[in-house]
């Protein structure tokens, strides 16, 4: 296919106007050394029909349609067609970052609404208009804290998503950040402050990666004691039923926003939600939409606090983010509006009920135990089985279930650990089917 409109007549006419003979003359001033020595080895052009066949064929090489019990930030919640339909309007999809507010009121207002809803959900007054994803938002939170507190250590619970911790680790060295891990005991974080440097922030996860509901107040107390910011990584879809981080007095909350409005997408594009308390308002990373007026006094929206950003502050900027995940944020806000408080509550409630039902069923299977027995959990939980969890996942896939995420890679202490997530989408038959399939898999060894 060719998506350039130029006919050969067009090209000739334009070249003639420029006093050039051939199209390659456009590049005559390029030094010879930079031209490829041999013709590039690239595939031939394909027609749309051929491209579609090709993508279809690749798609067939995925085993799609498994019943998903994997979570860890990315969840298989019900996504109504209306959200996709509205989000995919070309006015949103094919516009740039809304620098020109006169032509961007649609996107700007939707992002303003997104910020408002995230503020409601987190109980924190200020939200940006999205970051890349949940885990990388954790890095931005740590950066903010380090810059704000002018301290280099951060205390991080081992209940924080392993990918969040990995990303922070990737960057910590270059930025001179010292990461202090805090262990989980019985599934909940034990803040063991002895003998380590005073942190800029403590970071916990609610519920944590094992699905366990942590103690907000205890963490907040530690932060206060240390004069540190309190940062919470939260699970988006249980925000409808759990206390907000703002209510718990946290300074920063971040989340993987995928469950709002975005398909699982093999993990991307998704979006990072990020909200802060009022004192941190002018330090928040990422784009921010504010309400103002136009020269005729009409309500209008515009990008604001631009002075924080890289294009203005350059090497002094506290974040380098430019392109973010606007369209995913728009999807999130449309989905949240569709859900409303009652819907969000119901998703949380049903997920919790179904998770507990499944956990109880699994506990009854021979050899299956809860990884953190007795610890409170919401809609995700970890089990231990005698088998290698990778093997379990592979065998369960044969039976039509994406059984969960093996824990052993990230938590060697749970060698047979499998993290299981349940959403409102799973029917009782599917839950029962899962239990039966797992029983078979374990029996087969």
């Amino acid at each position: 296919m060719d998506f350039t409109p130029h006919t050969s007549g067009d090209t000739q006419r334009m070249l003639a106007h420029l006093g050039l003979a051939e199209i390659s003359d456009l590049f005559a001033h390029l030094p010879d050394e930079v031209r490829p020595a041999a013709p590039l080895d690239l595939p031939e052009a394909l027609s749309e029909m051929e491209v579609m066949s090709h993508i279809d064929a690749l798609g067939k090489r995925n085993r799609s349609g498994l019943l998903t019990f994997a979570g860890g930030g990315i969840y298989d919640h019900y996504l109504p067609p209306v959200v996709r339909t509205l989000t995919m309007r070309p006015e949103f999809v094919t516009s740039y970052t809304p620098y020109q507010s006169e032509l961007s009121q649609g996107v700007l207002q939707l992002l303003f609404e997104y910020q408002s809803m995230v503020a409601s959900l987190t109980g924190l007054p200020v939200s940006n208009s999205s970051l890349y994803d949940g885990p990388s938002s954790g890095l931005e939170a740590v950066n903010l804290a380090v810059a704000h507190k002018k301290r280099s250590a951060v205390w991080i619970s081992r209940g924080v998503h392993p990918h969040t911790r990995q990303i922070i680790a990737t960057f910590a060295h270059a930025r001179g950040i010292e990461v202090v891990d805090h262990p989980l005991v019985g599934g909940r974080t034990v803040w063991a402050p002895e003998g380590v440097s005073q942190p800029a922030a403590i970071v916990m996860s609610q519920p944590n990666y094992l699905g366990v509901i942590e103690d907000y107040d205890a963490a907040r107390a530690v932060a206060t004691e240390q004069g540190a910011l309190a940062i919470a990584e939260v699970d988006a879809m249980t925000l409808g039923i759990l206390r907000t981080p703002g209510d718990a007095g946290f300074d920063i909350a971040f989340a993987e926003g995928q469950p709002y409005g975005n398909p699982m997408s093999f993990g991307g594009p998704v979006l990072g939600m990020f909200a802060v308390s009022k004192p941190l308002m002018r330090k928040i990373p990422g784009r921010l939409v504010g309400r103002t007026t136009d020269t005729e006094g009409r309500t209008a929206y515009t990008l604001t606090f631009r002075a924080r950003e890289q294009d203005i502050r350059r090497e002094k900027a506290s974040s380098n983010i430019c392109t973010n995940q606007s369209l995913n944020a728009i999807a999130a806000s449309i989905h949240l509006a569709w859900l409303g408080p009652a819907g969000l509550n119901e998703v949380g409630h049903q997920s919790v009920q179904k998770a507990h039902y499944l956990a109880k069923r699994l506990e009854q299977l021979r050899g299956v135990k809860m990884a953190t027995p007795g610890a409170p959990y919401a809609r995700e939980f970890a089990i231990l089985t005698p088998a290698d969890p990778h093997h379990v996942v592979d065998q369960m896939a044969e039976r039509g279930y994406l059984a969960g995420i093996p824990l052993s890679d990230d938590y060697p202490e749970f060698a047979g650990g499998l993290l299981v997530a349940v959403t409102e989408k799973r029917t009782v038959d599917e839950l029962d089917g899962y239990a039966t399939a797992l029983e078979e898999v374990l029996a087969d060894g």
């Binding site: 970052t97 990737t170 993990g267 350059r314 995940q325």
Partner: protein, 497 residues
């Protein structure tokens, strides 16, 4: 409570009034969503940390939600409505076939933690685009984790650091030209490096002598986009790369402008070691009102062991995820913006090698043609032929009429075009940075030139009119100072006012 019930007054279609925010449509008890009844026995579960009440989200009907969002769509310009010559952003037309691919359920419904055995198609997508991207850039391996250009820059800089550390060195500075995009210095300093800035010379290119004197043992690398932000090809690039390599520095290619040289010249052949590409520019991913994008980073053979991981590798017949030997670690929560990558692959396969080269040719042809059609009111500060975009200066116009680059840009809106980029790069006074892209027809380019020229005319005859532009958009210019001074960032804050 509801102040625009059902009316379409908010859309320019009829009237041009304001669209209320969604909370204004909220009525207690109203809702759009519905779910099946709970089909497991209701358990008596009491959770710690339970919320006292559901969150204060708006309560609206699906009908009101749909109309609201559609009306907002009518208040937004987009490539799919008209030409969008926003320099540095490559706002080309994005073929709809790529949307089809990104919505393919075999990919969009895939959980990222699925074991490789059931996601061979997705892994193949990455290997396939990696091969094409490496061939186009002259690199040898790539990571698709970085979700945008800036994230690619950070990734590349961490690779640079890891490379030096692997050699037991720890140089502390990275050189960038003064014309660099803001993300470059920001990334450099966030990666823990000093920014060392080199000036442009009177050709609008990096001053080779200045570069030579900036290079010393403490230089970890050099970051550059080529064509540079003035739309000019850095003709000394090979010599510059040599200078850097002499101190064992690495040369980083900011791929924002890759569109101009697809299939024509390769960063690898120019001496670059690390290359990020903005798939959302060069490879036809629509920009989504600000994102998502994708900023894959490709590197030469010797840097491949440092790539973030895991990356897909073919092992026998199957593809699996492996961690590169000396990987800097993870830079994204999952595998990057995978569906954006899939879109880009779809685009690349549709165009093929020939088509990709045509992208470069015609993007340069359009820019060169447009530049040639502009009247003398727009000075072109540097004489070298432009590539896919050019920067004009409205400085003379401003001196003559008081009309600034900003005014010209806003006036263009009244002609039905999106504004160009303004006041960037910083090295040009009253800069107007114009990138027509290859998907615009010659007629559109001519119409754009006419609009620019008529605006310049008007600047001479009725400057106030131009200074008050736009006149025909849904709103006039916004009070950005007010927005920053009295921040209203949510409807909660609005309610407090």
């Amino acid at each position: 409570m509801v102040d625009a019930a059902g009316k379409a007054t908010s859309i320019p279609l009829v009237g041009g009034g304001e669209e209320p925010t969604l909370d204004r449509f909220s009525v207690e008890g109203r809702r759009a969503s519905g779910f099946p009844r709970l089909d497991v026995p209701l358990g008596d579960i009491s959770l710690p940390e339970s919320a006292a009440a559901p969150p204060a989200l708006p309560q609206v009907s699906e009908r009101d939600l749909v109309a609201h969002v559609n009306r907002l769509a009518h208040r937004n310009f987009a490539v799919d409505l008209g030409a969008y010559p926003l320099g540095s952003c490559t706002m080309k037309y994005n073929p709809k076939i790529c949307d089809w691919a990104a919505e393919h359920p075999a990919f969009s419904n895939l959980h990222p933690s699925s074991p490789p055995g059931i996601t061979q198609g997705a892994l193949e997508v990455i290997l396939e685009i990696e091969a094409i991207l490496c061939e186009l850039t002259g690199m040898s391996r790539a990571t698709f984790q970085p979700p945008a250009g800036a994230a690619g820059e950070m990734t590349g800089l961490l690779i640079m650091r890891a490379y030096h550390e692997s050699k037991g060195r720890d140089p502390g500075a990275v050189i960038i030209p003064d014309s660099a995009h803001g993300t470059n210095p920001a990334s450099v300093s966030l990666a823990g490096y000093q920014v060392r800035q080199v000036p442009s010379d009177d050709r609008g290119m990096v001053d080779l002598d200045a570069l030579a004197s900036a290079v010393d043992e403490d230089v970890a690398g050099f970051m550059l986009t080529n064509p540079n932000t003035l739309g000019l090809f850095e003709e000394d690039i090979v010599a510059m790369a040599d200078l850097i390599h002499e101190v064992d520095g690495l040369v980083y290619y900011d791929g924002a402008n890759l569109n101009a040289i697809l299939g024509v010249a390769r960063p690898g052949d120019m001496g670059f070691d690390i290359v990020h590409s903005n798939l959302h520019k060069t490879f036809a991913t629509p920009h989504g009102g600000g994102g998502p994008g994708a900023g894959p980073v490709a590197v030469t053979e010797h840097l491949a062991p440092f790539l973030p991981g895991p990356i897909p590798e073919r092992v026998g017949d199957a593809i699996t995820w492996l961690q590169p030997e000396r990987s800097i670690g993870r830079v994204h929560g999952n595998h990057g913006n995978f569906l954006v990558v899939l879109r880009a692959l779809t685009y690349m396969r549709a165009l093929g090698g020939e088509g990709l080269r045509r992208v470069a040719e015609r993007s340069v042809l359009n820019a060169r043609y447009l530049e040639s059609l502009l009247s003398d009111d727009y000075e072109i500060p540097y004489p070298a032929p432009c590539m896919h975009e050019f920067v004009a200066s409205a400085a003379a116009l401003k001196r003559a009429t008081g009309v600034r680059a900003m005014d010209v840009a806003k006036a263009l809106i009244d002609y039905g075009f999106h504004a160009p980029t303004m006041y960037f790069p910083l090295v040009v006074e009253e800069a107007l940075m114009v990138e027509p892209t290859e998907t615009e027809s010659p007629e559109t380019v001519e119409a754009l030139a006419d609009a620019f020229n008529e605006i310049a005319q008007s600047a001479h005859t009725e400057p106030q009119e131009v200074q008050a532009a736009p006149h025909r958009a849904p709103i006039t210019r916004t009070d950005d100072a007010l927005a920053a001074r009295q921040p209203v960032l949510t409807w909660h804050m609005a309610a407090e006012e």
